[in-house]
């Protein structure tokens, strides 16, 4: 303990309590790994994803319990931050919210994967499952660490697992190519972020963000260029992970090459983890000097919104379309943080975290649902273009209506979760008087409506290009995923306060 007030150091034995979600997932991963060695191939294939989902649910429940720990602590009146090993790892609601998101997201991905395994017998199911669990653990570490070293380890645990997951289909040239591209760009990004971290460490002599933040403020005037460089290098490195423009170019190729469930994982869990990292690093490490560096976030957010949406306009491949759309969503997600540069009152920070989390949850539901529909439709049609969706309304009304809800939500149609999320972010730009960013949000959403309308038109207005007019068989696991996505998207669209109230009552950073 050197000099930071308002923190509660936990004893090492508390690890079992506090880190229970992470520990559960690691144990689960190893259990699946070991079981795979001893079981015959068939039962391992059947059992592994179910075990994985089970452990994810357990981790989800443990995370919910951790909310209780945090609120007990704050209710205790001390308002102190629970942390392990000298602020290496903190337990706060910020981390908890993201952990809920990660576990829920990965569980849905595994649910979707059950069908994927059936279609692709060459994929090693156990390997796939434990890599998912480890990747999720990495994401969790990113959400809860306050030290550059652990943050970096978490980031790499997630990234390296993802590289493998993308390239999982070994007989599939596109899969391997997607993995290679992700790996090369991702590693360069890691190196850049790391290079930035080394400068931050050099100036502050600290790898810890909480302690380092103090030093950053003291050193800011003297080492402004160097610290700005550190900030930018880290921003670029993280920007690649969440695919901010102009660091986004890997994502359409990788999204196309990866198996559908893995694409969903990259789009939701990996992206959310990236944002957890960005928020954690910049709101802690650079909180004191944020007013001087926020402008770069604004530039990137604006650029991302515009380019992501414009690029999607001419896309005919539905997976690449969703990839560009996911790039654009990264721009929206960066906005709440970016506008904090002006009017960084504590209320605004809580509001920004609420906005980001709400949008991420909405994004989780609509993206999972959309990818589940996509999986069914593209498989039946045998291609991944918009043509596959033609006349879907007549062939499978449920799929068509669900897809319509998902894409309208992504575009920001009222009564869907996506609209509320965007509206909420828009209010943030108004609150901090960055009206032009709000305007840009609107303008780019209009473009989004245009290209999503192409999807709707194909589904409802055009006749089917597919010869067979058979009803499409939807596997149970995918039906469940679609239903969850649908319920979530609509429920949050109509009763947003269900989530909003919860988010507003949180002790984000333990306060």
């Amino acid at each position: 303990m050197n000099g930071i007030n308002g923190v509660t150091q936990l004893a090492f034995s508390d690890v079992w309590r506090v880190m229970a979600p992470e520990i559960l997932l690691v144990l689960g991963g190893f259990l699946i790994l070991v079981l795979d060695l001893f079981m015959n191939k068939e039962s391992s294939r059947r059992l592994s994803p179910q075990l994985g989902i089970l452990f994810l649910i357990a981790a989800f429940v443990m995370t919910i319990r951790n909310f209780g720990l945090v609120s007990d602590q704050t209710a205790g009146g001390t308002g102190e931050l629970l942390n392990l090993s000298n602020m290496l790892y903190v337990l706060d609601d910020f981390g908890n919210v993201f952990k809920l998101l990660f576990t829920a997201g990965t569980a849905l991905v595994l649910l979707m994967s059950i069908d994927f395994f059936k279609q692709n017998p060459e994929v090693k199911v156990a390997e796939y499952t434990y890599l998912m669990l480890f990747a999720t653990t990495g994401a969790m570490v990113m959400a809860s660490s306050l030290d550059l070293i652990t943050l970096f380890v978490g980031l790499e645990l997630l990234s390296i697992s993802s590289y493998v997951l993308v390239a999982m289909r070994r007989n599939h040239a596109k899969s391997a190519e997607g993995g290679m591209k992700y790996l090369v760009i991702g590693s360069i990004a890691s190196a850049m972020a790391l290079y930035g971290m080394s400068f931050l460490y050099g100036v502050t002599g600290q790898t810890n963000l909480a302690y380092g933040a103090q030093t950053v403020i003291q050193m800011w005037l003297q080492f402004k260029p160097l610290l700005t460089l550190a900030f930018l290098l880290m921003l670029i490195g993280f920007g690649v992970k969440v695919s901010l423009v102009p660091f986004h170019q890997w994502s359409p190729d990788t999204y196309e090459g990866a198996p559908n469930p893995v694409t969903a994982f990259l789009a939701v869990v990996s992206k959310a983890a990236g944002f957890a990292l960005i928020l954690r690093t910049f709101l802690w490490g650079f909180s004191g000097v944020f007013g001087d560096v926020y402008i770069y976030l604004v530039i990137l957010a604006a650029l991302t919104m515009v380019v992501g949406n414009v690029a999607a306009l001419s896309q005919k491949n539905i997976k690449r379309l969703l990839a560009y759309s996911s790039v654009a969503q990264a721009g929206y997600l960066l906005l709440p943080l970016a506008v904090l540069g002006k009017g960084k009152s504590i209320d605004n920070i809580w509001l920004a975290l609420g906005q980001t989390s709400f949008y991420l949850v909405a994004y989780l539901f609509m993206t999972m649902g959309a990818f589940a529909v996509l999986t069914v439709v593209t498989r039946q049609a045998g291609n991944e273009t918009l043509e596959a969706f033609r006349g879907l309304w007549k062939r499978a009304p449920f799929l068509a209506v669900s897809m319509a809800v998902f894409v309208l939500s992504m575009a920001g149609m009222p009564l869907t979760a996506g609209f509320i999320g965007k509206f909420y972010i828009f209010l943030g730009t108004i609150n901090t008087e960055m009206y032009w960013l709000g305007g840009l949000l609107f303008a780019t959403s209009a473009i989004a409506f245009y290209y999503y309308f192409g999807v709707l038109k194909a589904m409802f207005l055009k006749d089917s290009a597919v010869q067979s007019h058979d009803k499409i068989q939807v596997p149970v696991s995918l039906t469940v995923t679609i239903a969850i996505g649908l319920i979530g998207t609509l429920a949050l669209g109509i009763f947003p306060d269900l989530l909003m109230k919860f988010l507003n009552g949180l002790h984000w950073f333990g306060q």
């Binding site: 999607a312 306060d497 109230k501």
Partner: protein, 634 residues
């Protein structure tokens, strides 16, 4: 019971969804049964709520939190106050009857089921509007009723007039809606809430989060903006032009939407948000003047119109003017009372007119009617009752409510408004009886064959007429001295009085009756006993006035010359610029975006090293700019 008020709009919504699922080929009987039962159920619940409110007074709104934005919470829900309990009852009552009446009127129409779908959607929206506890929700339903009105006016869209009328209704009310929208946004910005209660508190305390305008001016500004919205919906001068044209819609629609319910929404909004208006004497003055002008203006036009529905439509505009004028002079109870009685007798007049039109094969020109009393005795009787109520002859409903408005105008010291109201009352009595005499007495002036076949409509159409007639006779007694002004006590919910209330002045009641009787008498002389020749008058000394009235004071023409023509001319010029400049830019923008999109697409060349290079260039630009900004590089 009050907590179940949400059921009332739910019934028509369920009916709408059911009809939607059944599709447009559903049987007429089933369609009608579903709709009427839903409306009837709503009416019964409304009655229960009415008695509950009568016993226990208003209750707090029932809301759930919809959205939390930082410190502010937006909620959705419903509320029940004496005012909207009354509105709920009136709307559901008239809806039930109109839905029943439409079975006869629309029989055989190819889009019968669609018509009922729209009507149910409208009833749902109207009820939703009435029970909204906040301005945001009001605005949503406000737009929704406007949309339904548009759909129903243009129901016979294959008639060019109907399509044009629908468009006009939509555009003109839209002008008002913009005002309302700005007003609501300003209120939210200034007070941080949409809830009536919260807004009223802020307006009472005059504490606003806006510093570019003084609180008093702000109140006036907001009140005027909201009133502009009410003007559009309630067809107040000069935004009244859409309502007579809207008569192109089916007559049941005119009865329900353009007489009893939707057009009263503007008055309802001003009444519900009355504390806002009360806080600004200037706004009240404007409202009173606009209301007075509308009342006399529409009445004068009504004198010479020959389309039976248009006469009734102008009388609606005129009566709405009365209500608005009453609000302007703070006669809150009188206004809402007139709102109620007017709903009954005007719906009655429209349905009776509809019955006439139906009987003589959809002819609406009174110059080709006459002598229909013998053929349509029941319709004749009910029309007569409606006309007497409208003219304000005791003891019919209109007498009691109109009398209170005139009283309010007089007592407020605004003699001009009082005189205007009195003249309008004279005109009203004259024109409605002109219609009555020309339609039901004398010789039939149309084709003989049509007259021979004319006969009283079936019971689905006559029962609503009879029930409405009863209401047109007795509804006025609710607030008469005979019942100790029961309505007033009810509308104030036992709490303090809103606006001003005066004791009945019997001499004024007498004067109003005499004026109305004079109007009827003149009408009798001109159109029944023919002792005064209207033709001679019209072509004689009064010709200019006659032409002025016949041509609706040339307002449409004025709009045409003053607004449409210049706009068209400017349009021509703009069109030129538009075609060659703006279009070019828009195209450039659209095409440019698309080309940009293609460019971005093809920049994605599949080479991972290119991606890395782009990343690097982006990074270098960013870092370079940053270094330049912080002065690390000179």
């Amino acid at each position: 019971m009050v907590q179940n008020a949400w059921l009332i709009p739910l019934f028509p919504l369920v009916a709408y969804l059911l009809l939607f699922v059944l599709g447009r080929r559903a049987q007429e009987g089933i369609v009608t049964a579903i709709s009427v039962l839903a409306a009837l159920a709503g009416f019964i619940v409304s009655l229960l709520i009415l008695s509950d409110v009568h016993a226990n007074g208003a209750s707090a709104p029932y809301v759930f939190h919809w959205l939390t934005v930082g410190q502010n919470t937006l909620s959705m829900g419903f509320e029940v106050t004496p005012l909207n309990a009354m509105m709920l009852t009136v709307v559901t009552f008239i809806s039930t009857l109109v839905l029943l009446f439409s079975k006869g009127y629309l029989h055989g129409d190819a889009r019968y089921s669609v018509f009922y779908q729209y009507l149910n959607l409208f009833i749902f929206s109207m009820l939703g509007l009435v029970i909204s506890p906040n301005l945001l929700q009001v605005y949503i339903f406000w737009e929704l009723v406007g949309l339904c009105s548009f759909l129903l006016v243009g129901f016979w869209y294959f008639k060019p007039e109907a399509a044009a009328a629908a468009k006009k209704a939509f555009i003109v009310t839209r002008i008002g809606d913009v005002g309302l929208f700005i007003g609501i946004v300003l209120i939210y910005v200034a007070t941080g809430t949409f809830e009536y209660s919260g807004v009223f508190e802020a307006f009472e305390a005059k504490k606003f989060a806006i510093d570019w305008i003084t609180p008093d001016h702000f109140i006036t500004l907001v009140a005027i903006l909201m009133f502009i919205g009410a003007m559009g919906k309630s067809a107040q001068f000069p935004l009244h032009t859409w309502l007579p044209d809207a008569m192109e819609g089916p007559t049941p629609v005119s009865a329900l939407i353009h007489a009893a319910t939707m057009v009263a929404a503007g008055v309802y909004l001003v009444a519900r948000a009355f504390p806002i208006f009360e806080a600004s004497p200037d706004a009240l003055t404007v409202i009173g003047i606009i209301g007075g002008i509308t009342a006399i203006f529409a009445a004068l036009i009504g004198l010479t119109q020959n389309d039976i529905k248009r006469v009734v439509a102008y009388s609606t505009v005129s009566q709405l003017g009365y209500m608005v004028m009453a609000l302007g002079v703070s006669a809150y109870a009188a206004s809402t009372f007139h709102l109620m009685t007017h709903a009954f007798f005007k719906a009655l007049l429209f349905l009776a007119a509809g019955s006439v039109i139906h009987a003589i094969h959809h002819n609406q020109d009174i110059r080709f009617m006459g002598g229909l009393w013998k053929k349509l005795p029941l319709t004749g009787w009910t029309f007569l009752i409606g006309a007497l109520a409208l003219s304000g002859i005791p003891p019919f409903a209109g007498f009691w409510s109109k009398d209170e408005i005139l009283l309010g105008a007089l007592k407020s010291g605004n003699t001009t408004l009082f005189v205007l109201g009195l003249i309008a009352a004279f005109c009203t009595a004259f024109y409605i009886f002109r219609v009555f005499f020309m339609t039901f007495t004398g010789e039939f002036r149309g084709e003989k064959e049509v007259y021979e076949h004319a006969h009283e409509s079936g019971s689905v159409m006559t029962i609503p007429l009879v029930l409405l007639s009863i209401m047109a006779i007795v509804a006025g007694l609710l607030n008469s001295p005979l019942t100790d002004h029961a309505f007033e006590h009810f509308i104030f919910g036992g709490g303090e009085e809103i606006g001003k209330v005066y004791d009945t002045e019997w001499w004024l009641a007498g004067l109003a009756t005499v004026v109305a009787l004079a109007g009827i008498g003149l009408s009798y002389l001109m159109y029944k006993s023919k002792s005064i020749n209207p033709e001679a008058l019209a072509n004689g000394p009064l010709r200019p006035f006659y032409q002025l009235s016949l041509n609706k004071f040339y307002v449409d023409e004025l709009y045409h010359v003053a607004i449409v023509k210049p706009v068209v001319w400017i349009g021509h010029i703009l069109n030129f610029i538009d075609k060659w400049v703006v279009d070019g830019i828009v195209h450039l923008f659209g095409e440019g975006t698309y080309i940009g999109s293609l460019g971005l697409k093809y920049s994605q060349n599949g080479q991972v090293q290119t991606y890395g290079l782009v990343t690097l260039i982006g990074a270098l630009l960013l870092i370079g700019a940053a270094m330049y900004a912080v002065g690390g590089v000179k």
